[in-house]
């Protein structure tokens, strides 16, 4: 009798140990996805810069915001294509079609509006009217805003240490993106600041809405819907507004189009991993690991372009790394994402 009880206790202990190992593995996989999403987005950003420096994007006959918006449209279109191929070859093609027609699928479309055309347009207008330093500084806050929204609407648990990591990563991003004031005048500076708030809110909302929906949808399918919707809105709503079709057609058939196709592969991988990370580790950690792209853009920039390291870049990179380590330090916190 005693040996049976001891045996049962031994099995129960073993079950608990294996359960915790499996949950920890799930949590760590999610953190890895988050970290890799930052790496691929850093690469994406560098390659996007290369693409936008090619003809016809350098044609000065276009207003300054046309080239980036056309580039963003093509990028999201190509990314939707790559993600569709991934879903096709992993047996999710029918899943994609049936998901679009559901209420959760339609909610993803809403998230796509916030995070895609709205956010990107606001981002570019912010740069146009307030300069890149202020715009990037404000938009780097999006993980903090996303985490607050996630705590309120998704009831996500975020530890004090994870918050410290989020804030540290944001500070690191600010340092990396800092440009000393050059004395240039921005006559519509406050309008630019207002525009910069749009992507901050847009990307935070996209993350929270998409995470809510991914409780019911496969992340690979959700991000495919998101990219497809973003491209459709860009193509049918934004392109006519900015008279971007000529540039779109010209860029599509030359080398810049090919570079964008490859860039979008990196972007689609980043987005897929970001969505998986949000689903597996929660919005706050996934977003924070995603903004390590500021660090990766330095690494890839040094190797692919003629980026020169300076004190701000190195300091920012170190601070981002510390922040990321704080976020991932205790995967056991992720065993139960919500209250």
């Amino acid at each position: 009798m005693d040996s049976n009880v001891a045996n049962a206790n031994g099995v129960a202990n073993k079950i608990e140990i294996i359960k915790e190992q499996k949950k920890l593995k799930y949590a760590k996989t999610g953190l890895l996805y988050g970290a890799l999403s930052g790496a691929f987005w850093g690469l994406d950003g560098v390659l996007l810069g290369v693409a936008l420096a090619l003809v016809p994007f350098t044609d000065s006959n276009y207003a300054v915001y046309v080239a980036p918006l056309v580039g963003a449209c093509m990028h999201d279109g190509f990314a939707a294509f790559w993600l569709f191929l991934y879903n096709l070859f992993t047996g999710r093609a029918r899943e994609l079609l049936r998901s679009v027609s559901t209420k959760p699928g339609m909610i993803v479309c809403l998230a796509a509006l916030f995070g895609g055309p709205l956010a990107m347009s606001g981002y570019l207008m912010g740069i146009q009217f307030a300069g890149s330093a202020y715009t990037m500084s404000i938009t780097a806050m999006y993980p903090a805003l996303g985490t607050i929204f996630a705590m309120i609407f998704l009831k996500e648990r975020v530890s004090v240490r994870a918050w410290a990591g989020i804030v540290t990563c944001i500070i690191g991003s600010l340092i990396v993106g800092y440009t000393p004031p050059s004395g240039d005048a921005y006559p519509h500076f406050y309008l630019g600041i207002a525009f910069a708030l749009i992507p901050t809110l847009g990307w935070a909302l996209e993350g929270v809405i998409s995470t809510y929906v991914m409780d019911l949808l496969d992340p690979a399918v959700a991000i495919n819907i998101r990219q497809g919707t973003s491209f459709v809105v860009y193509f049918f709503a934004i392109m006519p507004l900015i008279a971007g079709f000529v540039l779109f057609k010209d860029a599509f058939i030359v080398k810049s189009g090919t570079v964008l196709l490859v860039t979008a592969l990196s972007g689609s991988i980043s987005y897929l991993f970001w969505y998986r990370a949000m689903n597996m580790t929660g919005v706050g950690r996934a977003m924070t690991l995603n903004i390590t792209y500021a660090l990766w853009s330095i690494v890839f920039g040094v190797f692919i372009t003629d980026l020169k390291l300076n004190a701000y870049l190195i300091t920012g990179a170190v601070v981002i790394t510390v922040g990321a380590l704080l976020v991932v330090a205790n995967p056991k916190e992720l065993l139960n994402l919500r209250k």
Binding site: I15, K22, R92, E95, P104, D215, L217, D218, M280
Partner: protein, 95 residues
Amino acid sequence: MKKILPMRFGILFALSKQKNPMSDIEIMKLIEEDYKGEGQFKETIVFGHLTALCASGLISESSTSLIGESDLSTSYVISDSGRERLKYLPASLRS
């Protein structure tokens, strides 16, 4: 024509119709009719959906048993949060 839900949602819906906890293998058999023949209908993917549903609190673990030396079979039930999400079911599936 029967409306088939996205698989993760379909698993939640299938569990909502059960009175007793269902094991991961039983859940696979339950949804097999809707997803058989699709490349995504594999243990790794279905069990991944179950883990995600559990992590989000839409289902909860009822019991776990050991299979062999290191494999587990877990039984699940839908939670109150999970029932609340059934509001997104299409009208044709709501009863």
